[in-house]
C-alpha cells in the first residue's frame, strides 16, 4: 500500500480494498486509504461517489462486503458500531441525526456515558462551541440546522474520539451557520484532532484540510496533500474529466458516465 510521504508509522486508520454495497449497487469499490494521527483529510466527490457509504462502513453503520478496516493497529472490520466508538472512532452522520426529543445536554450526555477517558465533557464541549451554551436545555429537534450540526459534532466529541469522521459538514446550512460550524472545526484542528471531513464545498474543504481525497464512482481518483493541488485539478478529478494518476488502487475499467447510485 503506497502512501504519501511521512504517514507510514503513525497511521491511525488503514483501509484496504474496502467494498461496500447497497443491495446490488456497489457504492464503495475497493477503496484503500490511510489516515495519520493529527491529519485533517477532506473527502470530496460528487453525489453518489460513495463518500458517505465509505464513512458509514468505517464507523460500522454499514457492513463491509470485502476488504479490511484497521484502526489503531486492530482489525475492526467486523466490530459492531458501538464498540468502534469505544475504540475511539466517532461519526457525525449525514443529516446530523440528533435525538430530536431529547435536550442538547441529554444528547451530549448519552454519548458521554460510555466514553473513553479524555478531555471532552459537557462543559468542555460547551466551551468549545459557545453557541450551544444557551441551547443546553432546548429540545434538539427545535434547533436550527447550524445549531444541530454543532450539537452533533459536540455529541461525537463526547465519546473522546481519536478519529472524528464528519459527513457533510455544511450541507443544507445557511452561510452564517457554515461559518459557525467551521469555527468549531477550526478549533478542533488547532487542538490537534484527527479529522475526516466530507464536504461538498471544495474551497472550504481545501482551506482547512492538509490532505484532499477525491472519490468518483466508488473509487479514489485523487489522494494528495492539499498544498500540492489546485482547485481546478480537484474539480477535474471530481468530475472524472482527466484521470489524475492516483496513489491508491489503480482505476480500472473507467466508466463513461456517472452512475445514479446513492451513497
Amino acid at each position: 500500500m503506497p502512501t504519501w510521504e511521512g504517514a507510514a508509522v503513525t497511521d491511525l486508520l488503514r483501509i484496504s480494498g474496502l467494498v461496500a454495497r447497497h443491495g446490488l449497487l456497489h457504492a464503495v469499490r475497493g477503496v484503500s486509504l490511510t489516515v495519520a494521527e493529527g491529519e485533517t483529510l477532506a473527502l470530496v466527490g460528487a453525489n453518489g461517489a460513495g463518500k458517505s457509504t465509505l464513512l458509514r462502513t468505517v464507523a460500522g453503520a454499514h457492513a463491509a462486503a470485502e476488504g479490511a478496516v484497521v484502526f489503531g493497529g486492530d482489525d475492526i472490520t467486523h466490530l459492531a458500531a458501538h464498540r468502534r466508538v469505544g475504540r475511539g472512532l466517532a461519526l457525525v452522520p449525514e443529516g446530523r441525526k440528533l435525538f430530536p426529543d431529547m435536550t442538547v445536554e441529554e444528547n451530549l450526555l448519552v454519548a458521554g456515558r460510555r466514553a473513553r477517558p479524555g478531555q471532552w465533557s459537557v462543559d468542555t464541549v460547551l466551551d468549545a462551541f459557545p453557541l450551544l451554551r444557551p441551547l443546553r436545555d432546548k429540545r434538539a429537534g427545535s434547533l436550527s440546522g447550524g445549531q444541530q450540526q454543532a450539537a452533533s459534532i459536540g455529541r461525537a466529541l463526547m465519546t473522546n474520539p481519536r478519529l472524528l469522521l464528519v459527513d457533510e459538514v455544511s450541507l443544507g446550512l445557511a452561510p452564517v451557520a457554515v461559518d459557525a460550524v467551521y469555527e468549531c472545526v477550526d478549533a478542533l484542528i488547532r487542538g490537534g484532532a484527527t479529522l475526516v471531513l466530507v464536504e461538498q464545498d471544495l474551497s472550504r474543504a481545501m482551506s482547512v484540510a492538509n490532505r484532499v481525497v477525491c472519490m468518483l464512482e466508488g473509487r479514489i481518483v485523487l489522494d494528495t496533500p492539499a498544498a500540492d493541488v489546485t482547485r481546478d485539478q480537484v474539480t477535474d478529478a471530481y468530475f472524472g474529466l482527466n484521470r489524475v494518476p492516483t496513489t491508491s488502487a489503480p482505476v480500472d475499467t473507467p466508466q463513461a458516465h456517472p452512475t445514479s447510485e446513492r451513497t
Partner: protein
C-alpha cells in the same frame, strides 16, 4: 353513593391495569414491539409466586422477592435470544413470534399446573378482603390502595429512570433512533434486553397482584394483555402517566358497567376503548410515538 363507590373501586382496579400496561408500553416505546405474550408472562409470574409460596409456605410478597429476579433474567434472556432475532425479520415477525410464544406459554402452564382456577387472596389474609368503611356504601379496600400505590411507584420510578439516569437516556435515544444511538456508543441490543427484563418483571408484579386481587388460571393471559393494551391506547400512547390515566378510565368503565349488570363489566371497557379509537382522537393513535 353506590355509584361513587363504583368509581372508587374502578380507580383502584385502574391501578392494576396501569401496572399491566406499563411493561407493554415500555417495550412498545423502546422497540416498537407489541409483545403478544405480555399477559401470559404476567400469569407465569403469578404461577411462580403461587408455586414458591405454596412450596415454602411464605407470604406471596416474600415469594415475589424470589420471583422478580427470575423474571428479570427471563426477560433479558428472551430478548437476547428470540426477540433480538425476530426484530431483524421486519415489522411483522415480532408479532408472529410473540403470539407463538403466548400459545406455548399458555399451554405449558396448562400442562404443568392443570386448568384449576387459583387465587393468592387467601394467603395474604385480611389485606385481600379488608377495607376502610367511609360510609354506608362507600369503602376503600386495603388491597386497592396498595395496588394503586405500587402502580404509581413503579410508573414514577420508570419515569425517573427514563428522564434522569444515563440508562434511561440510552433507552430514549435507542427508541428514537437505534442506528444513531449505536454511533454514539450505545449498544442497542443490551438496551433492548434490559428494557425487556424490566417489562417482564413488572408484568410478573402485575400478575401477582391480579392473583391476590381475584383469581387466575393458565388461560388468564390474553385477557390481561387486552386490558393492558386498552389502557395504553386510552391513555394516548403518550407517556407513562397517560398509561395510568388510561388504566383508571378502563377500570372505572368496567366497575360502572358491572354496577349496571355484572355481565356488562368487561364489555363496557371494550366499548370505551372502541369509542376512543373511533373518536377524532383515535386518528392520531397510530401516528403518535410512544416512548414511555
Amino acid at each position: 353513593m353506590s355509584w361513587i363507590n363504583a368509581v372508587v373501586q374502578g380507580l383502584f382496579l385502574g391501578g392494576l391495569y396501569a401496572l399491566f400496561a406499563c411493561g407493554l408500553s415500555l417495550m412498545f416505546g423502546v422497540m416498537r414491539i407489541i409483545n403478544l405474550a405480555h399477559g401470559d408472562l404476567a400469569v407465569l409470574g403469578a404461577f411462580g409466586v403461587w408455586w414458591v409460596s405454596s412450596e415454602t409456605g411464605i407470604s406471596p410478597f416474600l415469594a415475589l422477592l424470589v420471583v422478580l429476579p427470575v423474571m428479570l433474567a427471563l426477560g433479558y434472556a428472551l430478548q437476547r435470544t428470540v426477540l433480538a432475532r425476530s426484530l431483524r425479520g421486519g415489522e411483522l415477525t415480532p408479532l408472529l413470534t410473540t403470539f407463538g410464544l403466548a400459545i406455548v406459554l399458555q399451554n405449558a402452564l396448562l400442562q404443568i399446573f392443570s386448568p384449576d382456577v387459583r387465587s393468592l387472596g387467601p394467603s395474604v389474609g385480611s389485606l385481600a378482603t379488608g377495607s376502610w368503611r367511609l360510609a354506608d356504601q362507600l369503602s376503600i379496600p386495603y388491597l386497592g390502595v396498595l395496588i394503586l400505590a405500587v402502580a404509581v411507584t413503579v410508573l414514577g420510578g420508570l419515569q425517573f429512570v427514563l428522564r434522569r439516569t444515563g440508562f434511561g437516556r440510552e433507552m430514549r435515544a435507542t427508541a428514537q433512533d437505534p442506528d444513531t444511538a449505536a454511533l454514539v456508543g450505545v449498544p442497542a441490543a443490551s438496551v433492548y434486553a434490559r428494557a425487556t427484563a424490566i417489562a417482564v418483571a413488572v408484568a410478573a408484579l402485575a400478575g401477582t397482584f391480579l392473583a391476590i386481587h381475584s383469581t387466575f388460571d393458565a388461560s388468564s393471559g390474553p385477557t390481561q394483555l387486552i386490558f393492558a393494551f386498552e389502557a395504553v391506547v386510552i391513555g394516548g400512547l403518550g407517556s407513562l402517566w397517560g398509561t395510568l390515566a388510561g388504566g383508571v378510565v378502563l377500570g372505572i368503565a368496567q366497575t360502572i358497567g358491572a354496577h349496571i349488570d355484572p355481565q356488562y363489566s368487561i364489555l363496557a371497557g371494550h366499548l370505551v376503548f372502541l369509542v376512543i379509537l373511533a373518536s377524532p382522537r383515535g386518528r392520531f393513535i397510530a401516528l403518535r410515538r410512544a416512548h414511555a
